[in-house]
Structure formats: C-alpha cells, structure tokens
Amino acid sequence: MISISELVKSYGNAGNKNQVLKGISLQIADGDFVVILGASGSGKSTFLNVISGLERPDSGSVVYGTSDITRLTDEKLTQFRKDNIGFIFQQYYLLPNMTVEKNVRMGADLAGNREYREMITAVGLEDKTGKYPGELSGGEQQRVSVARALAKKPKTLFLDEPTGALDEQTGRQVLDYICRLHQEYGFTMVMVTHNQNIAEMADTVVKMNSGKVTEVSANEQRKTAYEIGW
C-alpha cells in the first residue's frame, strides 16, 4: 500500500512561488493499476516524480508500507528506488551506446536478475538483443525500456506518458505488453497520461487539475489496449 498524505510541492523562490501540488492525499493498493489523468500543467508529472522518490516534497508524506520515503536520506532513497521502483519515460532514455541486452542489464544487474533475457523475450525483442537503440523504431525502443524497468523486478512501476511519442498502433502494442506483464508479475503500476482512453484500462483513475486531485474512480470492467479508443 502506498499512502500519500497532504503532499505539497512548489517551485521558484519566495517572491515568485508556483505551487504545483496543493495538498494531495491518495491511497494506492498493492498490485493496483492506477492512471493519473490531467491536462498539461496539472501537476501530474511532478506528482509522479515526488511519489516515486525522484523529487522531495515541501511537506506531506509518501509511505510505502511503513516507510516514509520523504524522510529518507539520499543514500537510503537511492537504495529504496533500487529495491522497489521501476520507471518508464516518454523519451525512453535508453543508453545510446549500449545494445538492447546491455540496456536491459542496467536494470537486471541491480536486482541480481540473471534471467533478464526472459524479459527481452517477453517484449518480443529476442531477435534484436545485439541492436543499438539507434537501430530500433520508437515502439521497439519503448519496449526495451519496459524490459529494462521490469528486469529489476520492481514492486512499483511508474510510467510517465509511455505512449506519448508513439503512433496509435505502436502505442497499443506497448500498452498491451505492459498490461500483460503487470498481470503476470503483479506489481503496482502508476501511469501518468493525458489520453483519457487509456484510463479505461486501469483499476483506478485519478483526475488532477491545477495541482489537486479532483476525482478518484474505479473501473468495474478493465479494457485491453486493443479495446480502447485512441
């Protein structure tokens, strides 16, 4: 369970302060697939960064089980991310001078996962292990970043607009891979997106506007990546 309480985050100095998160509270159950929906500038990416431990809030708490990550030292927060968190970004952020296999090993080695090739197979890239990111399409690159994130066996996976740079067909394919792996491994998944259709795939939908949560709803029936609109 992730318990988020009264989260506040601002940027800028005293004279020109911009409060991006205005006291957000939320509970995320283990194994849940949560989609955070919001327009550009609603604070959803900042919220994701703070609850994943990439940024520190001004106030409030983010408690994983019994551990409040806002109170951890830098070293302990790094260790926490190492043991618990996986990330997938819109821009992939693959290491350009490393092959698919080595990019996946970046995540796998942290968890001592020697079976990382299974993850490459799971995203359908078993015949491209020796390729470099520059030799792959956008969809393939995003699948590498999925394999990299999951090869470290995270308990929680954070996704920031994972299909934002992909066309419809490729986007559906990537989402399908992610959802199938989510069902297979049972990790908690928090995805930020502005695409309302993707929300139909989630267990829980959190709508954000101007730094606040405006609505939290649960989906009775989850749809697959090929059933949603685009």
């Binding site: 991310r81 952020y93 080595k102 090993r105 080695d109």
Partner: protein, 379 residues
C-alpha cells in the same frame, strides 16, 4: 554566424598549451639565434664545445617540447571541432538543409585558430619578458661570450603567426570533413547513427563494466588527454627534480610550473568533458537506484589505469631525454656528471601524483553528486 567568438573561450586549454610550447621554444630558439651571432668570438675549444652543446640543447628542447605540445594542441583542436559539430549537429544540419554548402559553414571554424594565436602571443610575450633573466643565467657561467637579448622577427613569425594560421586552416579543413555527413545524420543525435562501427560483443559483461568500457571506447581522445596529463606531471616534475646538477634552479622551477599547468589544465578539461558527456547516463543510473559511487566508478574510474600508464611513460620519457642530453649533447663538455635514474625524484613525484590525482577525481565525483536528475531529464 555558425561559430561565435564566445565558442572559442572554451578553448582555453589549447591557449595554455600553445603558450607553454611557445614560451619554451622562444627561450631556446631566440637564445640560439643570439648565440649563433657570437660564434666568431668563441676562441677556446672548451667554449666551442659548450657552444655546440647549447645549440643542440636548444634544438632538442624546442623540438621535443614544442613538438610534443604542438601535437597535443592539434589533437585538442580536432577534439573541440568534432565536439562542437556533434553538440550543434541540429543547427548545422538545418543550415545544410537550407542549402548552405559544407565549406560555407566550415569556413567559420577559423575562429578556433584564435585560441592558438592568443596562446602563442601570450607565450611569446612572457618568454620575451623572461629572456633577460634567462640570458643572465647563461652568461653567469662565463663559458661563452656575454650575449644580449635581440628581437628576431623570424622567431616571432614562426612561433606566433604560422601556428595561428595553420591551426585556423586545420580547423576549417577538419570541420569541412566532419560536415560531409548527410543532413539527416547531422540532425539526429550523435549516437543515433554510431552503431555498427563500434560494435563489440561482450555478452556476459556486467552492466557497470560494459559502461566503463564503452565510456573509454566512445571518447578515445579523452583517454589520450588523461594519459597526457599524467605524462606531463610525471615527466616535468621528475625532470625538474633530477636535473638540479645539470641546470639552474630557475630552469627547474620553470619546467615544473609548465608541467603542472599542463597536467592540471588537461586533466580538468578531460574530466569536465567526461562528466558532461555522461550526464544523461548518470541521471538514468540515479533514477534506477545506482549509488553515486557506482556512477563515479563507471564513468571516472575507467580512466585511472590510463593515468598511471601516463605516469610510467612520463618517467621513461624524462629518463631517456636527460640521458640523451647528457650522453650525446654534453659529451664534449667537461664536468658534466653522469646521469643515472633518480629513484628519489621518481618516488617523490609518485607521492605527489597519487594524492593530487585522487583529489581531482574526488572533486569530479562530488560534481556527479550535484547533478540534478530532473534538470538533466528536462533538457
């Protein structure tokens, strides 16, 4: 304008190296020219032997120091031009796409030669200021006729004018060659098209080892600079410590100062480039939970063996150079002690080198700690 004057400010390393090279060459070549004019006044056999030794010393020092530093400046210049084109590929690609020819863009790179001009002029000016003291030291030995500092336009021309023009032309030619790539390649990120050529099968290598290896492979010029930095430290400090019986204290201090400036300047520039070139990799490693120590070890630690290799090469180089100078150049001159490898100087230099190098590495490891993951990813 494609390349602005402010871009040349970053080439301060080349200016410093050029200044050091021209400083040393001016001292010895100007002295040689003035000495040659006095050749007819030397009457004794011992004086002639000393004259020949001094002329040879001047030629050897100017050729070895000047040549070595000139090669380094060339490599550094090419590195900067390549780096500039890699980091400004999009802008240059757009210009090519708009119809500018490769040469039209490349010709603006002449400004890179300005850094050499500034360095050479500075080195020449400093040398000219120091020449009276240098001549006084040589005159004090009273083995040769007393000589005075004369201005030689040819020395100034060949040590300031020629290098500035040559480096400007070199920068333009090299930029032209680098800009022969197709427009789309320029528009893409540097690594997007660098793949097959650098491929190396290291399947079972752990990620951190692979990262260290690829950091070295991707930036071979930086390997040279890190090695060169240790080489300068080792060679110049050992030489200045072990040549106390062969030359004046002033010369030793001068040599040590030049060596230390070159060593630290090159090391700072290299490590800054290493950290800057790996910011995104470090940011991703931090996001995934790699501790700072792993990031530093993989990105900076891989250069450590090259540094120590540079130290060893520097030790051999200075020993060989002094041995040659003493046994060949000063062969006809009496009272010159036999030169042996100075183990004490080597131990002292190593004792200074290890903490100095590790402190610099620690400083850059601290710089890695200060990298903001968010700011890197928002770039």
């Amino acid at each position: 304008m494609v390349v602005g004057m402010k871009d040349t400010v970053k080439l301060v390393g080349i200016s410093v190296i050029a200044a050091c090279a021209v400083f040393v060459c001016t001292l010895f070549l100007n002295y040689n020219r003035d000495l040659a004019a006095m050749q007819g006044e030397i009457m004794t056999e011992a004086g002639m032997a000393m004259y020949r030794a001094q002329v040879s010393t001047g030629k050897v020092v100017a050729a070895v120091s000047g040549g070595c530093l000139a090669i380094t400046s060339v490599i550094m210049l090419l590195f900067y031009v390549k780096n500039y084109i890699d980091t400004h590929g999009r802008e240059l690609g757009i210009l090519k796409a708009l119809g500018y020819s490769g040469f039209k863009i490349a010709r603006h790179f002449w400004v890179f030669g300005l850094s050499v001009f500034v360095g050479c002029a500075l080195g020449y000016g400093l040398a000219f200021l120091y020449l009276p003291s240098f001549y006084a030291l040589q005159n004090a030995e009273q083995l040769l006729p007393e000589i005075e500092v004369q201005f030689h336009i040819s020395v100034a021309f060949f040590l300031v004018g020629v290098p500035a023009v040559a480096f400007s032309v070199l920068a333009v030619i090299y930029a032209r060659l680098r800009l022969r790539r197709p427009v789309l390649d320029l528009l893409k990120d540097k690594h997007e098209y660098q793949t097959k050529g650098n491929r190396r099968e290291t399947k079972d290598q752990p990620f951190l080892k692979e990262l260290a290896g690829s950091t070295v492979r991707e930036r071979k010029a930086l390997v040279f600079f890190v090695t060169f930095s240790a080489f300068c430290f080792s060679a110049m400090v050992q030489m200045s410590l072990s040549m106390k019986d062969l030359s004046s204290e002033t010369m030793a201090v001068m040599m040590m100062t030049i060596g230390l400036i070159l060593a630290f300047m090159t090391l700072f520039l290299s490590l800054s480039s290493v950290v800057k070139g790996n910011t995104k990799t470090i940011a991703m490693m931090r996001v995934f939970g790699y501790p700072y120590s792993d990031c530093s070890k993989a990105v900076l630690g891989c250069y450590r063996p090259f540094s120590y290799m540079g130290f060893v090469i520097g030790t051999i180089y200075q020993y060989a150079l002094l041995k040659i100078m003493v046994s060949i150049v000063f062969a006809d001159v009496g009272n010159v002690p036999e030169y042996r490898f100075d183990l004490t100087a080597c131990a002292i230099t190593l004792g200074l080198f290890i903490p100095a190098y590790e402190i610099v590495m620690y400083g850059y490891a601290r710089r890695i700690r200060r990298l903001s993951v968010k700011s890197v990813m928002l770039e």
